[in-house]
């Protein structure tokens, strides 16, 4: 699933997947700004068929936070 998240990030930000590490976040990736963040949320919801809760929306600012949120939605089932 981490690879899928990184692939989506790569498509949304327009940078190669190789440049996005498991520890990537809005702090470390220059292209990852607030306008890209809107697109990221929409892309993740469509790709993983989830709907993020209102409280979660502002948390999706790193690969690991996204991973945790998706896992919660998928009830911890390994993807």
């Amino acid at each position: 699933m981490r690879e899928e998240i990184i692939r989506v990030l790569s498509q949304v930000l327009g940078i190669p997947p190789a440049s996005i590490g498991d520890d990537a976040s809005v702090e470390t990736v220059e292209a990852w700004d607030s306008l890209r963040q809107i697109r990221l949320m929409m892309a993740l919801e469509e790709k993983f068929q989830v709907r993020f809760d209102d409280e979660e929306v502002s948390d999706l600012i790193s690969v690991s936070a996204i991973y945790d949120a998706l896992r919660r939605h998928k009830n911890g089932v390994a993807l």
Binding site: V12, G14, R39, M42, A43, V57
Partner: protein, 575 residues
């Protein structure tokens, strides 16, 4: 296509499209950023290189003054932020505030429209309070406010403005699906991807003609597409189009849609695997047919591959494959065509037949908007007349003989205000015999016709077979102090190619410029994928090349001592 993929493909398309991108701007008082890729992809995937620029947030008025370079400006003026939180204060605002708000906003709207008066196309959304009022039974004050704002918009919008009814988008997508409150409260971004997708599809018919991509022809298969049944098996009397039968009614509605399209200038054609006599029997004598031979401009009824037939249709009509919409009931046929001619847009008759007319109607929106011209109303007839002309051609020994036998007459209209719509349409639709491919909308032509510094000439052609209509346009801008003019537009719609009409148009223009005191004429050839046939057009009329770069050519002609070299076979009149 998945959203993340659309983002990636959109980026790739940008790199693969040649030449400078057309500039579009979206101005809004909310965060409207995500619409960018939807609009870009819709255009780029159809071969139009376009960049969408999002205006500074909540600065619609100021940004509207900075749009000189933009071909299209889209305005998303959300009612809810005219006054902070207006969507929740509609009923509690005191009686003074509403009229004040209305006056203030109306004044700003007028200013924006004034600033954008030179933009070729402005897509201005009508104000809507529906998202906040649709569940309540009473007529809310916010609805009344929007109605007043919209009445004002309709009254002040000029011809370059297309008003977009957001309520239609909400009707398609549903309001809960159209809005995203999470994004609104965290980022002032109100709309969902579902909304952006529907909005883009909704406005595409208004966008495409501006970039020369209007659809022109609607071609139908016959069996189980225009009638129920297979004429080769059931016989001409065995097929169903009866108003007494549910399926018959469906096909009648489809035929009526086709007739409506024909009335708007769309070319209707047939492409079917059948014996021609079988289809003729239906067209001529089936009592329930609504479409008849008089409505059909072109037919390919034979046993050849459909993609070859469609190519032949495009060639005969002198239009690009991308100007054709093809309707068939067979997914196999459609697949084969999509593989062989991906430029052709295809529509498959739905398996659930009762959905057919409404689904087709939605699809037919792509035939565009804009004023109806006389040519539109008589286009089918003109193609039929053209077919008769072509049939007469082989009887003559030479091209000159043939042209003389036609008795061609060209009438040149100078700065004709009555032909503004047709002139604009020709600049948008003509691709092959077009020297500069400069596209113009009605507003621009109207201004050019009034201006002392531009000369607009439209060529109307007829012969003994009938009227071709207005088929050529030339536009020149004049600089009196230097006695120089430059030919910014020179085009001929394809039906009159090869008949020396172009000589009459160019030489007529030169004569008019000479009479206006012009000594020097500059002209341009701008190379595109479709206009290589006019590469040497100016050369053949004695223009000298000033500059050549990457296929483009700049020319000059000194008018002193210029003699007309051809066109003795054509009578020219000025009007």
């Amino acid at each position: 296509m998945e959203y993340s993929e659309l983002l990636a493909v959109n980026r790739r398309l940008r790199d693969s499209l040649p030449s400078d991108a057309a500039q579009l701007a979206v101005l809004s008082n909310i965060t409207i950023d995500p619409i960018r890729e939807f609009l870009e992809y819709a255009l780029r995937s159809r071969g139009v290189n376009a960049d969408v620029h999002i205006g500074v947030f909540d600065n619609i008025v100021q940004e509207s003054a900075r749009c000189e370079k933009h071909t299209v400006v889209v305005v998303f003026w959300e009612m809810m932020t005219i006054l902070a939180g207006l969507q929740s204060r509609g009923e509690t605002l005191d009686d003074l505030s509403m009229p004040q708000l209305l006056a203030q906003t109306s004044a700003q709207i007028s200013l924006v429209l004034e600033n954008l008066s030179r933009t070729p196309l402005v897509l201005f959304n009508l104000f809507s309070a529906l998202p906040y009022t649709y569940e309540g039974i009473k007529d809310a004050r916010l609805d009344r406010l929007c109605r007043c704002l919209n009445d004002g918009l309709r009254a002040t919008a000029r011809s370059n403005v297309v008003l977009v009814d957001l309520d239609k988008i909400f009707a398609q997508v549903s309001i809960p699906c159209a809005l995203d409150w999470r994004l609104y409260y965290t980022a002032q971004s109100l709309y969902s991807n579902a909304f952006y997708t529907a909005y883009t599809a909704h406005v595409l018919p208004a966008l495409l003609p501006v970039f020369g991509k209007a659809k022109k022809a609607l071609i139908f298969d016959c069996d189980n597409t225009l009638w129920k049944g297979i004429v080769g098996e059931d016989g001409a009397q065995g097929i169903t189009i009866s108003p007494q039968s549910p399926q018959g009614k469906v096909f009648r509605d489809v035929q009526m849609l086709a007739l409506e399209m024909a009335g708007q200038g769309v070319i209707i054609g047939l492409c079917s695997k059948n014996n021609p006599e079988d289809v003729e029997a239906v067209l001529e004598s089936h009592p329930d047919m609504l479409l008849r031979n008089r409505d059909i401009a072109i037919k390919r009824i034979n046993w050849r591959d459909k993609h070859a037939n469609l190519r032949s249709i495009a060639e005969d009509l002198n239009i690009g494959l991308d100007a054709i919409l093809f309707v068939d009931d067979s997914p196999h046929e459609i697949l084969a065509i999509q593989q062989q001619c991906p430029e052709i847009e295809c529509f498959t008759v739905p398996k659930n037949l009762f959905q057919y007319p409404s689904a087709l109607r939605a699809f037919l929106r792509c035939f565009g908007t804009g004023s109806l011209t006389r040519e539109d109303a008589t286009r089918t007839e003109m193609y039929q007349v053209e077919a008769r002309r072509k049939a007469a051609a082989p009887q003559h020994a030479s091209m000159e003989d043939f042209i003389r036998s036609l008795g061609l007459k060209v009438t040149l209209y100078v700065n004709p205000a009555q032909h503004v719509a047709r002139i604009a349409q020709l600049t948008q639709k003509t691709n092959q015999f077009n020297l500069t491919t400069a596209r113009h909308v009605e507003e621009e032509i109207a201004r050019a016709v009034q201006s002392e510094d531009t000369l607009v000439v439209a060529a109307d052609v007829q012969d003994r077979f009938g009227h071709y209509g207005l088929t050529g346009v030339a536009m020149a801008s004049l600089d009196q102090p230097t006695k120089t003019a430059s030919i910014d537009v020179l085009l001929l719609s394809c039906r009159v190619l090869g008949r020396q009409v172009e000589a009459s148009l160019l030489e007529g223009l030169i004569r008019l410029l000479q009479a206006a005191g012009i000594r020097r004429i500059l002209a341009y050839y701008r190379k595109t994928a479709r206009n290589s046939q006019v590469e040497d057009f100016y050369d053949s009329f004695g223009f000298t090349i000033l500059r050549q770069e990457g296929g483009d050519k700049d020319y000059v002609l000194e008018t002193e001592g210029y003699h007309s070299s051809r066109a003795e076979c054509i009578g020219v009149e000025y009007a």
